[in-house]
Subunit: 218 residues, 2 copies
DNA sequence: TTTTTGATGTCAAAACATTAAAATAATGTC
DNA sequence: GACATTATTTTAATGTTTTGACATCAAAAA
């Protein structure tokens, strides 16, 4: 198995591979060729083969990929065989929506607890998750060592909270705040979700359509 | 001004440029150099200059970029000066969280209405938005011609809903369902948000950290 | 004015990613 | 058991994105 650095575009495609293979697996499919995957995913077959070969030789020439094995390997790569734990900081609307609806388990994360500073929220439940007082965050991290923290606090508290997490040795932050967390150079992984960015990208494409139409008619 | 096709990586960076310039603008900053932007954004100054020059010459040699002008231009590029309207399909937890919390206006979208099929939800309000009966969707689109639809319906209804939107001539879908909408080749822009993909990417990086530590210790 | 400094826009080289082609290996069939 | 087929891996070529270097021009200073 090669262990070079894997490029970003490849990493970004991994979850899509996983989803696709998951579907095949649960539909009882036993083997699949890169050509079939290509059709389903919209990437070229060549690219799919190359991507997979970054991680090792999963396929069998003349046969294709064994779906079960392929699934296992991708799960391994994505870290789904490791037991990850999570906490969530900030039980506002977004935080609660995630706790109630998002399937953390399907991504390999067990949600340990949520934190908030609002006394009205502390010691209540959101779904199966208990909301704890933010003052206990530091000690909790020290004793429970969650692998990851979901950051859904208001912007103004984001950097401070992030600092606490980094200091306490949390390995990664799933950041929904979209602001600068001031963690440059620190040993912590930050994965950002920025809905506004996504919608602005959509807006850009709409604008392009608009211009395109003008060009065609004028 | 060049009007070639703009590459994806550049488009993906635009919202980050916008956010950064927005901050500068509101902090009263009058001019800014590519070097300063570089520091703030983590891209190379060279890349920033090159990206901007895709759209025209916004800067002044020996001076830098006038923040107000730069902001105006980026807003123009992103379509923020056009008036966009939106509808939302599927008022489950995620849909409601978006309606209540997400600042559509800041991205240039005015939310016209939401739709659901659940009779208990129909004709109620979520924040300032009225929930309408899904049966009226088609006619509503025809009369109000929203530029965009937010798709937060359950997976099993996603493809059907998407088909209706495309048939009715909606220009774009902001898709939270993460499943195949079957819109290949149709004249509609789809911008996907997939939280699971994002979290799996984080999981991948965590796994890499883990492997890295083993390597160092073993 | 004239000089110096600062910063852009552009070009070319390097790095990187994708696609295509060639070589190889396993399967299934006659 | 040999052969045609399938589909991977490896290697090469092509295309794209990023980076670095530089000529150019505007502003500030002398």
């Amino acid at each position: 198995m090669k262990r070079d650095r894997i490029s970003n575009p490849v990493v970004a495609r991994l979850p899509r591979y996983y989803r696709c293979v998951e579907e095949l697996y649960y539909s009882g499919c036993v083997r699949v060729s890169s050509a079939t995957l290509s059709e389903r995913l919209g990437f070229t077959a060549s690219q799919i083969r190359q991507d997979f070969s970054n991680f090792g030789e999963f396929g069998l020439q003349g046969y294709g990929y064994n779906v079960k094995k392929l699934r296992y390997e991708i799960r391994e790569i994505l870290g789904l065989h490791s037991r990850n734990t999570a906490i969530l900081l900030g039980c506002g609307n977004l935080g609660q929506a995630l706790l109630k609806n998002f399937d953390f388990e399907a991504c390999g994360f067990f949600m340990l607890a949520a934190f908030d500073t609002d006394p009205d929220k502390v010691d209540t439940q959101v779904g199966p998750v208990h909301i704890m007082d933010g003052r206990h965050l530091k000690r909790f991290i020290e004793t429970e060592t969650p692998s990851m923290a979901v950051l859904t606090v208001p912007r103004e508290n984001a950097a401070e909270a992030a600092g606490v997490l980094a200091d306490a040795g949390v390995g990664a932050i799933w950041d929904f705040t979209g602001c600068d967390l001031g963690l440059e150079g620190r040993d912590i992984t930050v994965e950002r979700v920025n809905l506004a960015d996504s919608l602005l990208t959509l807006s850009y494409h709409l604008e392009r359509r608009r211009v395109g139409e003008e060009d065609r008619s004028g």
